[in-house]
């Protein structure tokens, strides 16, 4: 545990986020990541009227833009920012890009920051992405059957089920409900209804992970803008403020198998800063690469008592009209996982819900959204965790 003296976190006054952009996903694309980033900025321009020279801050996340980083994208896309960021935290990149951009805007380092995540998915590029994902993966994970994240999360899922008495059917309720949520999202790659029996009868991928526990890798891009309330108002952009955010890396390294994330370490501070509790949230957009991670976020972020996750999964209705609307666009499990954009879509969907411009059905009267990110399985577990609480202005 850190011995650095802890000061209270400064509030995110004077910052808003706006203009949630989702470029419709494709299962496979021959377009490079740069093209998807360009598509995201085109959509952003349509939405906001911003052009390349109007942005003075740029944050970029991608797994497939190699050999380019955010720097390459700047020149590629004709930007001239005075603030630049590259956020390589995958499934946590949306919240983390937001946090960094918010501080830049708050401190005057930038006035309008475009945050973009874009990834392509060429035939076989998923395998190549995996093979070069991280040094520990290359050395110590992929040589063991090359099951990709499926195998890693199979181990985590098995241990979690054993520890908490969670059954496949409990996880199935998450997947089945998210599929129902995707039904109203025209951009979701998988919208056909899924019932629990079909979920349970699916073929095993890496026991106990079965087909419908896995996301579908795809190409796509997401974006949003971080700016000042004044600029948003002047341009007429609906916007939301940031009530609180947290981030943590490599939490609980001594847990032999991952059984919780960094959220558990920082959730109290998140809610204290936001000044509200989980019960005050209108929708939760949690990172859902596998249902076990959704369960961890529910417990770690305080939506349910730590030891009652199995019952919570059975008793809670996660539908758009439910008691805790969860992943209202269908989440990655139904909408698809577009690389780093998968770490953005929870943020853009949460923002849309509270700005009342959803892709699909609206959570009635939603004003506050909790967003949770989880990224980078560097070795045997996800390393990066983040969360944000947003409120419509």
């Amino acid at each position: 545990m850190s011995s650095a003296a802890k000061r209270p976190r400064m509030a995110y006054d004077g910052v808003v986020m706006a203009a949630p952009i989702t470029v419709p996903y494709q299962r496979f694309s021959s377009e490079p990541a740069h093209g998807w980033a360009g598509a995201a900025l085109r959509a952003l321009a349509r939405e906001t009227g911003l052009g390349p020279r109007d942005l003075d801050g740029f944050s970029f996340s991608s797994f497939s833009a190699s050999p380019d980083s955010a720097v390459g994208l700047v020149q590629h896309l004709g930007l001239m920012p005075r603030w630049l960021d590259h956020v390589p935290t995958g499934g946590a990149s949306g919240v983390m890009a937001l946090r960094r951009a918010a501080r830049a805007v708050q401190c005057g380092d930038a006035a309008i920051v475009a945050c973009v995540a874009a990834d392509t998915n060429q035939i076989d590029s998923f395998r190549h992405t995996l093979a070069t994902f991280s040094r520990f993966s290359q050395d110590a994970v992929y040589p063991y059957g090359f099951g990709g994240p499926n195998a890693t999360f199979a181990l985590i899922t098995q241990a979690y089920m054993h520890e908490h008495g969670v059954t496949r059917a409990d996880f199935g309720r998450i997947c089945v409900t998210q599929r129902a949520n995707a039904g109203s999202n025209p951009l979701a790659l998988q919208r056909s209804p899924l019932d629990l029996d079909t979920y349970l009868a699916a073929r095993p991928i890496a026991d106990p992970v079965h087909l419908f526990d896995c996301v579908m890798p795809c190409a796509g891009a997401e974006a949003f803008v971080v700016t000042t309330p004044e600029i948003a108002a002047a341009r007429g952009w609906p916007a939301a403020r940031i009530m609180a955010t947290i981030e943590r890396h490599n939490a609980y390294p001594d847990d032999p198998v991952q059984r919780r994330g960094g959220w558990a370490m920082d959730a109290d501070e998140l809610w204290a800063m936001a000044g509200i509790g989980p019960a005050d949230i209108d929708c939760l957009q949690a990172y859902d690469d596998y249902p076990v991670i959704v369960a961890m976020q529910l417990a770690d972020l305080g939506f349910c008592p730590p030891d009652a996750i199995a019952r919570f999964l059975r008793d809670t209705h996660f539908g758009i009209d439910g008691t805790l609307p969860l992943n209202t666009n269908g989440g990655q499990l139904s909408a698809g996982q577009a690389g780093a954009a998968g770490g953005y879509q929870n943020l853009t969907e949460g923002l849309r819900q509270i700005l009342h411009c959803p892709l699909g059905a609206q959570v009635p009267g939603a004003r506050r959204a909790a967003i949770s990110g989880f990224g980078l399985v560097n070795y045997d577990r996800g390393v990066c965790t983040a969360a944000a609480v947003l409120e419509a202005l």
């Binding site: 040094r135 098995q158 992970v209």
Partner: protein, 418 residues
């Protein structure tokens, strides 16, 4: 030589009309630290890095201690562990594993401290005690393999080896002899002769006993050469025609080549150096290996468990004033062997080396003990195959030489050239 306890049925004959199966190797890219782990795995050691300051063992291999940022060094570690979680991978995008699904793996809490992901022997469930082995996979990279501890902790070392070859996944890390066709390049010398008998007893389908000339009349009724499953063929590794003809006359595809050929003659460099003898030593040790490798590598590469095992003198490491030409030839042989191994990485053909000191035969009659009995060397070769161990040192002389060479090569060279 006793019959192994676990003998798998010989492989079914291949459908002659089926397209030959490609043999991809497991994903190969590794960090330098992981390569260092593999370098120790070649010797059959079970090692992890430990911090030189706080002593904490760490995995995966790192370049600094995650606890105190101290530097790390490799140390032998206790092999015990406990299964934390396991899975059966049924879908993989990697060509090597796709051919071998379903694949059992899991996470292990090592007694040494770290949690590792490992290949699991069949039947291991969470909570099970395991004995870890640090193997080399078919691409030559280090791989952790968990065996049930009761199977691996019996005192006889070969029992554990048998467990590896008895497990379907374990088999991919070793070189199964049972059911294999094996070529012994020089079965005329005692070492090769002992090896032919040992291979036949270990259940090889066919042992081709290479017989360099001159051929005495007694070849016709040699008891070992007359064993069932043993096919004597003239083979002189100094002759490319002979190598090609012998390989062409082997019935069925060749799985394993064991190169025992050598030409040991005493002599120095300037003093008592017989250049013809030295030339012949080079022709046998170095060029002979190259000829055998050229003729057999394409065949071995087409086999699911192809392997090339070379028996060579530990004098290859630093020379030998008393057998200067032979030691030089063996050094050249070792060099070629290392290049050959590198070449074969992408084919999955395992290239193994067995170092020996002086053998207890006519070649070293002038030397006092300790010497390696041919039967012992043969047993060590079989063990190297059963363990898939890339480097084996047989006998006190070779083991001690390797230890000293690894410890301080410059000092070792001084001390071995009095």
């Amino acid at each position: 030589m006793t019959t192994p306890r676990h003998r798998l049925p010989p492989p079914a004959p291949r459908d002659p009309l089926a397209r030959p199966q490609l043999h991809p190797v497991p994903p190969g890219a590794r960090s330098r630290a992981m390569q260092a782990m593999a370098a120790r795995a070649t010797q059959g050691r079970f090692v992890l890095q430990a911090c030189t300051v706080c002593d904490t063992a760490t995995y995966p291999p790192r370049d600094a201690c995650p606890r105190c940022w101290g530097t790390l060094a490799w140390h032998d570690q206790p092999t015990g562990g406990r299964v934390l979680a396991n899975t059966v991978i049924r879908v993989s995008t990697d060509p090597y594993f796709r051919d071998r699904l379903p694949w059992h793996m899991g996470s292990i809490q090592l007694d040494a401290g770290p949690v590792v992901l490992a290949h699991l022997a069949r039947g291991l469930e969470p909570g099970a005690r395991v004995a870890m082995r640090l193997m080399l996979d078919r691409g030559g990279n280090a791989a952790l393999f968990a065996l049930p501890s009761d199977a691996a902790q019996v005192p006889h070392p070969e029992q554990g080896a048998t467990s590896m070859s008895a497990d379907p996944q374990g088999r991919t890390f070793v070189v199964p002899v049972a059911g294999a066709t094996v070529l012994v390049s020089d079965a005329r010398q005692p070492v090769g002769g002992a090896l032919v008998g040992a291979l036949a007893a270990a259940g090889a389908r066919l042992v081709v006993a290479g017989l360099p000339g001159p051929a005495p009349v007694r070849d016709a009724h040699d008891p070992v050469l007359g064993l069932p499953g043993v096919q004597p063929l003239p083979l002189d590794v100094t002759d490319p025609v002979s190598v090609a003809e012998t390989v062409s006359r082997i019935g069925g595809p060749l799985d394993i080549v064991i190169n025992t050929a050598r030409h040991v003659r005493a002599g120095g460099v300037s003093r008592d150096g017989n250049l013809l003898a030295q030339h012949r030593a080079l022709e046998v040790s170095a060029m002979g290996l190259a000829r055998l490798a050229q003729a057999t590598a394409p065949i071995l590469a087409g086999r699911p468990n192809g392997a090339f095992l070379d028996v060579l003198s530990v004098t290859a490491l630093a020379g030998d004033a008393g057998h200067a030409g032979f030691a030089a030839a063996e050094a050249a042989r070792l060099s070629l062997l290392q290049s050959f191994r590198h070449e074969m990485r992408s084919t999955g053909v395992r290239v193994l080396e067995v170092f020996t000191g002086p053998t207890d035969d006519a070649d070293y009659q002038a030397l006092p003990p300790p010497k390696v009995a041919p039967a012992r060397l043969a047993a060590a070769v079989l063990d190297a195959l059963a363990q898939g161990r890339e480097q084996t040192c047989v006998g006190e002389v070779a083991r001690e030489a390797m230890r000293r060479w690894l410890d301080d090569p410059a000092l070792f060279v001084r001390e071995t050239q009095p």
